[in-house]
């Protein structure tokens, strides 16, 4: 018996090298998977993220070492080319109806105001010791837009990708818990009872034209946001033009599903114990919550301010939907409004700031990129 060969075989097994950090990360990964299965929290993302976290923390697999499987996924899909977030935006565009925003364009301003959390958190992050690039990547969590968070973080602070993405998607799943208390605190009962007139019907010509006009305007003003915005409106053009049904269905289903698989597993793979288990990650989770809260407040405050000048008052609750967790934030606004009067339907009105928030967050990311890269 060759003892040295036996020792080599044993030392080549992963369990010999397991650390407390690995075990904790398996626990977190397993928690994500269980949350997805049992509570239905963002299952499409939490399952691959959780699984990615587990396998990247198995010692000696070297999946994230150069030319390892997960390294190849991550390197080419996010780190080098950064194509996954724009492809997700293509699918989101194909799934999104911008009619409520076209019918009431003033709701675009609510989408802009809801970026308040992004910039408040930007400063908060600097105070906690992060540099400007890291602070921007953490602040963008307040936009409540996962793909934009990934897009910006992978360019400005790739070492924070795992923590910022998980924070963004976790808080998006927790919108129904985080937002209602803030909404009730920031509004009076009379304001929550405001009924809004039914939105006008938007013609197909307007919807098709909007996709083209919006692409031109945003890409001219913030060229750095072009990868996200152009894909978003290409997907929307597929949907609205009505002549490329096959492409629309592919963008809405197969494409977005394939991209989601790779996105989830890549994000999970960026969380080895030695990178994730640091005080920084806790700060990022805390700051993400601050960002979400301030974004909600920003939208509501602007809605109240607009009511000082508008003849037809708007229900300030729709301002909270300016965080771009589509359509969850709009649904939450509807639920809170119906809590006061069950005949008050503001869902379609809330969809306006909700989709405006997607554009606003993409513009904010583009502006960060143009100023900090």
């Amino acid at each position: 018996m060759d003892a040295s060969l036996f020792n080599e075989v044993i030392s080549g097994m992963g369990f010999i090298h397991v650390t407390y950090g690995h075990v904790i990360m398996w626990g977190i990964g397993l928690t994500f998977i269980l949350l997805a299965i049992l509570k239905n929290y963002e299952p499409l993302l939490l399952v691959p993220i959780g699984f990615g976290m587990i396998i990247v923390n198995i010692p000696l697999t070297e999946m994230m070492k150069e030319n390892g499987l997960l390294w190849v996924f991550y390197h080419f899909a996010i780190d080098k080319w950064d194509i996954l977030p724009p492809l997700i935006f293509l699918g989101i565009g194909a799934l999104t109806d911008f009619s409520p925003m076209i019918a009431a364009p003033k709701t675009l301003l609510l989408g802009a105001a809801a970026q308040l959390g992004v910039y408040v958190t930007f400063f908060g992050s600097i105070l906690l010791g992060f540099n400007l690039n890291e602070a921007a990547s953490i602040g963008i969590i307040g936009g409540a837009d996962g793909p934009t968070t990934i897009f910006l973080t992978s360019k400005l602070a790739p070492h924070l990708l795992g923590a910022t993405t998980v924070a963004a998607y976790s808080y998006m799943a927790m919108v129904p818990i985080i937002q209602p208390p803030i909404m009730r605190l920031m509004t009076t009962r009379e304001e929550r009872l405001i009924k809004m007139r039914t939105l006008r019907r938007v013609s197909r010509v307007e919807r098709v034209g909007f996709a083209l006009v919006a692409t031109l305007i945003i890409c001219f003003l913030v060229p750095a946001a072009a990868p996200l915005v152009s894909m978003l409106f290409l997907g929307n053009l597929f949907r609205e033009c009505g002549v490329v049904e096959r492409l629309t269905k592919t963008a809405q289903n197969e494409l977005i599903n394939i991209v989601t698989i790779f996105l989830g597993i890549c994000i999970g793979a960026t969380m080895p114990a030695e990178v994730f288990l640091r005080p920084q990650s806790l700060y990022i989770f805390f700051l993400g919550l601050v960002a979400f809260s301030f974004s909600t407040v920003g939208g509501i405050i602007l809605a109240k301010f607009m009511n000082l000048f508008l003849k037809e008052k708007i229900n300030p609750l729709i301002g909270a939907a300016g965080v771009s967790a589509v359509p969850m934030a709009a649904r939450v606004a509807q639920i809170v409004a119906r809590g006061e009067n069950k005949h008050n339907y503001i869902l379609m009105h809330a969809m306006g700031p909700n989709v405006a928030g997607v554009i606003g967050t993409a513009a904010a990311a583009g502006l960060f990129l143009s100023m900090l890269k």
Binding site: L109, A112, S203, G209, A363, M371
Partner: protein, 107 residues
Amino acid sequence: MQGTNWGQAFQVFLYGFSGVFFCLLILLMGIKIFSKISIWAQETFGKKKAEEEVKIPTEYEVMKATISVEDKLPEYVFMIPDSFVEYPMIAGDKNLVDKKEKEEETD
């Protein structure tokens, strides 16, 4: 913290937040202008086109068409469904409807 460039941080905040508002404000104006143009175009050109394409038949034309078809089809074809009762003239035969209603009342 010590190495933080606060001047740049304030600039990023100022230009960033106001930049988002500016972008969406321009988009707002773009949408408003485009919507007005497209609504005007649809009202001006779309209406004329619609009037030309969808010519609403006169009462005489409907009756004439019905009578000509009635000659070739058995009577049960003209038993008008309930949903058409509100629009007897469009259905084609008002007398038949009245007759049917009277019969039902008598029964």
